[in-house]
């Protein structure tokens, strides 16, 4: 009975008999609405993501707007060489990886933790309230958040009041290069912990409750339940999100850094995108920024592929 149903189901989706043409026609007849729904998205991807890709060739040119792509001279890898030979190249790379890495290291587990904790709460109104409050900061504009951070870090700001209460000295916290990473990461966690935890809470609700009951019968405590049931249940979601996150490791959101940094913290805060931004103010060098962007994308792809490989090895889940 079960086997027959399975076969029927398969036939409804993917016709397996006949020549290619016959199969294609039947496929269309049976699934045409699905294709139609996907069509706008495919057109969008084709026009906005794939078609402009050829523009990446300007990374190998000395692009002049007036002459266009066909008219601009080819310089091969010169733009890349200019970027790699820049005095600050290694510092920029180091800073970008550091900020990204620390954000992932500390910022990635936090929403999971919040989701796990919220999952344990039985009092419904408390759970809902905490959820709502925790994802409100996500909607505050980055500019406003950075304005708040600036104010708090001033010599006469709230954070310094707390520091002096514990006997420390007053100083402008955003001027210290050593403090830039903590400020950046912690404010990032504060802003996105609620929103990111939503997807984990959704995944948690998909875990079979019977397993918990079975575990309780076997005498497992709460912690044991979390470790043995919840976490493995969340693994696929965690893996996929981690892979996606690693796939944008070099694309550190520059707006926040741009708003928080200044020359005293360049040593730790200046990342590839902010440096190229400052360079761009001087000249509209499209080729240079395209070359840097291409470099960023290539590194991101490497990380994405590596993470995917690793994910498959560890938890049998991968993006592709």
């Amino acid at each position: 009975m079960k086997v027959m149903l399975k076969k029927d189901k398969k036939a409804a989706v993917r016709p397996s008999k006949g020549s290619f043409r016959a199969r294609a026609v039947r496929d269309w007849k049976m699934n045409r609405y699905k294709y139609l729904i996907v069509l706008p998205v495919l057109i969008y991807l084709a026009v906005f993501c794939y078609k402009p890709m050829y523009g990446v060739v300007i990374a190998f040119q000395n692009y002049r707007v007036r002459l266009g792509i066909s008219g601009s001279e080819w310089v091969g890898l010169d733009q890349f060489k200019a970027f790699f030979n820049d005095i600050y190249f290694w510092r920029l790379l180091r800073n970008t990886f550091s900020i990204s890495g620390l954000s992932i290291l500390f910022g990635f587990p936090m929403p999971i933790l919040l989701a796990l904790l919220l999952n344990e709460v039985r009092v419904k109104w408390f759970k809902k309230t905490v959820q709502t409050i925790s994802y409100m900061p996500y909607f505050i504009s980055m500019v406003v958040v950075c304005g708040l951070i600036s104010s708090f870090c001033r010599t006469d700001g709230v954070l310094n009041d707390i520091i002096t209460f514990f006997g420390g000295e007053r100083r402008n916290l955003l001027s210290e290069k050593g403090l830039f990473y903590p400020i950046y990461v912690i404010s990032g966690i504060w802003q996105s912990i609620g929103w990111d935890s939503i997807i984990y809470l959704a995944a948690l609700s998909g875990i079979d409750q019977e397993q918990y009951e079975a575990a309780k019968v076997d005498g497992a405590g709460r912690i044991r339940q979390i470790v043995s049931i919840t976490l493995p249940g969340l693994m696929p979601t965690i893996t996929i999100l981690l892979i996606l996150r690693l796939g944008s490791i070099l694309s550190v959101g520059y707006e926040k850094i741009l708003l928080l940094y200044q020359p005293l913290t360049y040593e730790t805060a200046d990342v590839i995108s902010t440096y190229v931004y400052r360079k761009g103010i001087l000249e509209s060098n499209f080729s240079y920024s395209t070359a840097v962007g291409l470099f960023n994308s290539l590194v991101n792809i490497c990380f994405l592929l590596a993470a995917n490989r690793l994910g498959k090895k560890i938890s049998e889940t991968g993006l592709f």
Partner: protein, 555 residues
């Protein structure tokens, strides 16, 4: 049953709130449209008085009278002179429509979309098919006018200016600096620019101090650095107030007190022999930094300066935490207004830039070139037949009546002549939306123009404290001898080489100068600092700028 109706009602309420707030996005306020159109008709009638005679035969080089009798229509793309915000487009702006009448030429204005990046819009314009007749852009900043001529984008105006823009031509011949700025190194004239009548208009920022505190402590306005020492220490002791500023405003800041020429960012200047130099590699700058470091360590300089912006300094000023600063006249007006509103009794005045020895002349003040980086060019898309109209329209600002119109608007409406000097009427001076907005509506020289910005106009529009401040700053200076001109242009190879190194150099200088300020780096390491700059390619930068400057002089 009741519960689901409540839920439904709430849902509908939420959706309608969202829909209403969506409507609030975008679109300018249309409320003032009605008032504007009635005002506009008044302008049209009053404007008829200028239709004195018809233009004489437009013979070459002859000065014709306006309005021109022509059917030609011009298109202009511009990043400046946008109609005042309450107008939906230029057809409602009294200045733009009035200009059309006075010159007799219909002009279609195109501006980059509000909120878009102007540089991108400009690049897209150049890359597109249809160029407008006139492009008004900061060509002096880009420095690539010759290349645009060579590529056939804009017209070489050398032959045409004497023929069709005689007033402007005469104006250039009478002023060497302006003449050099408006042509390329090859000697080709390419644009009709925007100029200032007097050096007074080129400066708008400088040192300011709490006068009431000075009086209370029986101190004089400080002139030398030693006197500044005394004043700042006194402010700290008696009022716990500091010397605070936005680092961006410290250009050149207090450098004149040491005969230095810059503070935090890489600054180019000319020595008295006309040689190009970088401020940060001069020993004078080292002494200047040493002093600033001393002040910072003693707590005389605000420890927040690295992260403050204008608003931050303004708040601190209002809270009586600031005794002295370096800021712009606009900010100064804000501080004075704040003090009045809160009744703090604070009195802010502009004070002279410090000097090394009493009585010497200040060599470095905050000032721009007398030539604006913006100029109007005629594109190759403008057909031969329209060239004369285009140039004569551009020439208007350099005629006597054009000068008056651009600066002051309509006689009788926005200004009256008193003792031979134009004086703004209450329509401008007591405008409820503020003088600045009123000027945006009726006049065209507040920011950048196609013509000359009158000194009298700027003096009238500024608050008296600002006027007094600028008077003080400009009183005792010969800064123009040391200013690197805005009209210098580099060749493409030079520009490429320059840009490869400049960003790295500027980053290094910005970092190190702030580190010297806060004491993170000791000034003993100054020689290594200079050596590192040389290694990074500083000599090359100076060479390039020197060669470009020499070419400028030879034009």
């Amino acid at each position: 049953m009741g519960k689901s109706t409540v839920k439904r009602g709430l849902a509908i309420l939420m959706v309608s709130i969202m829909a209403v707030s969506m409507a609030g996005c975008g679109g300018k306020s249309k409320s003032s449209d009605a008032g504007v159109s009635s005002g506009e008709t008044v302008t049209q009638e009053a404007g008829n008085s200028s239709e004195t005679g018809d233009s004489t035969a437009n013979a070459e080089g002859e000065i014709v009278s306006y309005p021109l009798s022509t059917q030609d229509e011009l298109t202009i793309w511009s990043n400046v002179l946008k109609p005042e915000q309450s107008y939906t487009d230029y057809t409602q702006s009294p200045f733009h429509t009035g200009l059309e009448e006075k010159t007799g030429v219909k002009v279609k204005w195109e501006f980059p979309t509000e909120g878009s990046d102007p540089t991108q819009a400009y690049n897209l314009l150049l890359a597109g098919d249809k160029l407008p007749d006139i492009i008004w852009w900061s060509f002096l900043n880009d420095g690539d006018a010759q290349r645009l001529i060579d590529e056939g984008v804009i017209r070489d105006l050398t032959e045409l200016l004497p023929k069709y823009a005689p007033n402007y031509w005469k104006f250039l011949q009478e002023n060497e600096h302006y003449d050099k700025s408006m042509k390329t190194d090859e000697g080709n004239y390419y644009g009709i620019g925007s100029f200032r009548e007097d050096a007074w208009q080129a400066t708008y920022a400088g040192p300011v101090i709490r006068k009431d505190w000075l009086d209370a402590l029986k101190l004089e306005v400080p002139q030398t650095i030693e006197e500044w020492d005394t004043v700042l220490k006194a402010f700290k002791e008696n009022y716990n107030a500091t010397f605070s500023f936005t680092s961006a405003r410290m250009a050149p800041g207090m450098a004149s007190g040491f005969n230095a020429f810059g503070t935090f960012g890489l600054t180019t200047y000319l020595t008295s022999e006309g040689k190009v130099q970088i401020a940060q590699v001069q020993p004078e700058w080292k002494n200047y930094m040493a002093k600033l470091q001393e002040w910072y360590k003693s707590g005389l300089i605000d420890s927040d300066i690295a992260t403050l912006d204008d608003t931050g300094v303004r708040t601190k000023a209002l809270n009586n935490e600031v005794g002295a600063s370096v800021t712009s006249t606009a900010q100064l007006s804000n501080w004075i207004a704040d003090a009045k509103a809160e009744g703090t009794g604070a009195e802010w005045i502009g004070v002279p830039y410090p000097v090394e020895t009493k009585g010497s002349v200040v060599h470095a003040i905050q000032a721009e070139d007398m030539v604006s980086p913006y100029c109007a060019v005629v594109s190759t898309a403008c057909p031969e037949e329209k060239l004369e109209t285009a140039l004569r329209w551009l020439d208007y600002g350099f005629t006597e009546e054009g000068f008056l119109y651009w600066n002051y608007g309509e006689e009788g409406k926005t200004y009256t002549m008193e003792d031979g000097e134009p004086k703004f009427t209450s329509l401008i001076m007591e405008a409820p939306e503020g003088i600045s907005s009123a000027l945006d509506k009726y006049c065209g020289t507040q920011w950048t123009c196609i013509g000359v910005q009158a000194l009298n106009m700027v003096r009238q529009k500024n608050a008296k404290e600002s006027i007094a401040a600028v008077d003080t700053w400009i009183a005792n200076t010969d800064y123009q001898n040391y200013l690197y001109p805005a009209g210098v242009s580099m060749t493409t190879e030079e520009a490429n080489e320059y840009s490869t190194v400049f960003n790295a150099l500027n980053t290094y200088v910005s970092e190190m100068s702030l580190k010297y300020l806060v004491g993170e780096e000791a000034l003993d390491g100054y020689d290594q600092f200079v050596k590192k700059l040389q290694d990074m390619g500083l000599e090359r930068i100076i060479d390039i700028k020197q060669t470009a400057y020499d070419r400028f002089l030879k034009r």
